[in-house]
Amino acid sequence: MPRTVEFTDTEFMIAQGARLIEDGKTIFVGWGIPQVVAMLAQKLYVPNVIQLFEFGAIGPQSLLPFVRGTMGGPQNTYRSLQWLNMNWAFSYSAAGYMDYGMLGALQVDPYGNINSTHLGGTFERPERRFAGSGGGNQVASHCWKTIIVIKHEGRRFVPRVDFLTSPGYLDGPGAREKAGLPRGTGPHRVVTSKALFGFDEESRRMTLLSTLRGVTVEEVVKDMAFRPLVAREVFEVPPPTQEELRVLREEIDPDRFIIRGEKMTATP
């Protein structure tokens, strides 16, 4: 009988994200958690993934540990294929070279639209103001498949985002193309600390695909302020492996600034 593994919800979210990245593909990596996801993935699973950072690092192989808060520092841009600047970085994505984009979010709605700007109030006088797009808007607009990484907190899953910072499927099928965004792009997965979502091909609405082993569909959707679609068959995602946890805790974030979170257990 397998022993129980202990981990934080953040660790699960990161490990789950890392398993989605394809080797030999390109991924435009957003600030913060997505960087850690990419680091874990490159270390364990996808040595030949090409990461791209918006300030002009093409294909870095980041040096561990992660220096919290940084993206442009020498650890993160280590052993790049090429060093350029921001306008070139967004040329790579705009011309179609970025297979994936990976972004965090403050709020997300059923169409995968992202808010990272403010909560409540108006744009001019918000109740709470956050960092805003950074380069997230470009990543979500240009990359072929956008992966959103977000803590599974119900208040983050809203029927309508307070501010539409970075485009998901906007108000439904065809809306991206109608707005002039590149054809065939859009949100691909939403990686949370409890579950994994995709988007329905027809309706473009968020669809529950799998849950952390031991977490029920009802537990996943109960706090969400909208009801996602649920796949015909919902798969079970194993918890972080010992190796994933070791790399996260020992190599990437030994001070546990990033990976701290709610304690969870599951059977491996």
Binding site: F53, E54, F55, G56, A57, L63, V67, R68, G69, T70, M71, G72, G73, P74, Q75, T77, Y78, R79, S80, W83, L84, N85, M86, N87, F90, A94, T117, H118, G121, F123, E124, R125, P126, E127, R128, R129, F130, A131, G132, S133, G134, G135, G136, N137, Q138, S141, H142, F163, L164, T165, S166, P167, L170, A175, R176, K178, A179, G180, L181, P182
Partner: protein, 325 residues
Amino acid sequence: MRDRAIRREGGVEYRFVPPDEFREHVRDRKSKAPAPKLFTAAEAVAAFVSDGDYIVYDFSSLTRGPQSLIREIIRQRKKDLWIGAEFTLHESPLLVGAGCASRIDVGFLGYGSYIGQAVCDGRVKAYEWTNGGIALRLLAGARGVPFLPTRDLLGTDNMKVSAAKVLNDPYTGDPVCVVPALNPDVALIHVHQADACGNARIFGTNLFALEASLASFRVILSAEEIVESDEFRKDPMRTTIPYFLVDAVVHAPFGAYPGAMPARYEIDLEHVDRLNAIRTDGQMREYLEEYIDSVADHEEFLDRKVGASRMKELRRRATVVEGYR
């Protein structure tokens, strides 16, 4: 320049200078002769930054930011600045907290609640252009065109709160976003090496160092090292900015502190934590007094607030040097 350069359309304010006006400034006011232009930070800021100016800076708060120049701007209590900033974690809170900045175009607006609260309270207006939008606006400014097109921003609320517009592309008929050129009053750029005339090298990536230098009415460089002019002609591929774009050069070792200068010194994370911890106006006043107002200049700041041991330690930590030369 400020008043002429503010445009208001449907509740949105934005900076815009027609290309012809910028070009005439360049023709009449940018010296192309290779004369030394070394200044102290206090002199450079006094001479080239005015109340009401629009200011951009490269790169981020944690990496190669022009932090010593920002502190000098605060020390001189410039007023009513409009900042165009991408990764602005600490400059914006400090500039707003000190009463220097009234508008910010972002970008990525800090963390910590101080700056967010200032936006909520209406003490500063924060306009959302996105990082890509700001970089593209500067590219337009650098290319002497009034706008550039892009296939992002479209479909989002950014279109409603900025002066980005939708055009129909004449070749496909499809909608495309255009953003207006940005020609700041001042660009602040911290570089690894400069000569006295303003030729400069940055090692590693940059956000828009050359774009901002070409697009700005005035360019102030701070440099870790001042080197011989002849260095640049020996290796022209490594020149980031040629001298005739530059108005002032300030010698500023540890000028990016508390951020890192790639391959020179690492971030001082303890000092960064102190910045991140600022939540109240009282804490802000304390920080400003302790680290900016109570010292006469950057050198006194380094002596009294950082110290040789700390600097030695931060240099020691900067072990990643590959590619930075």
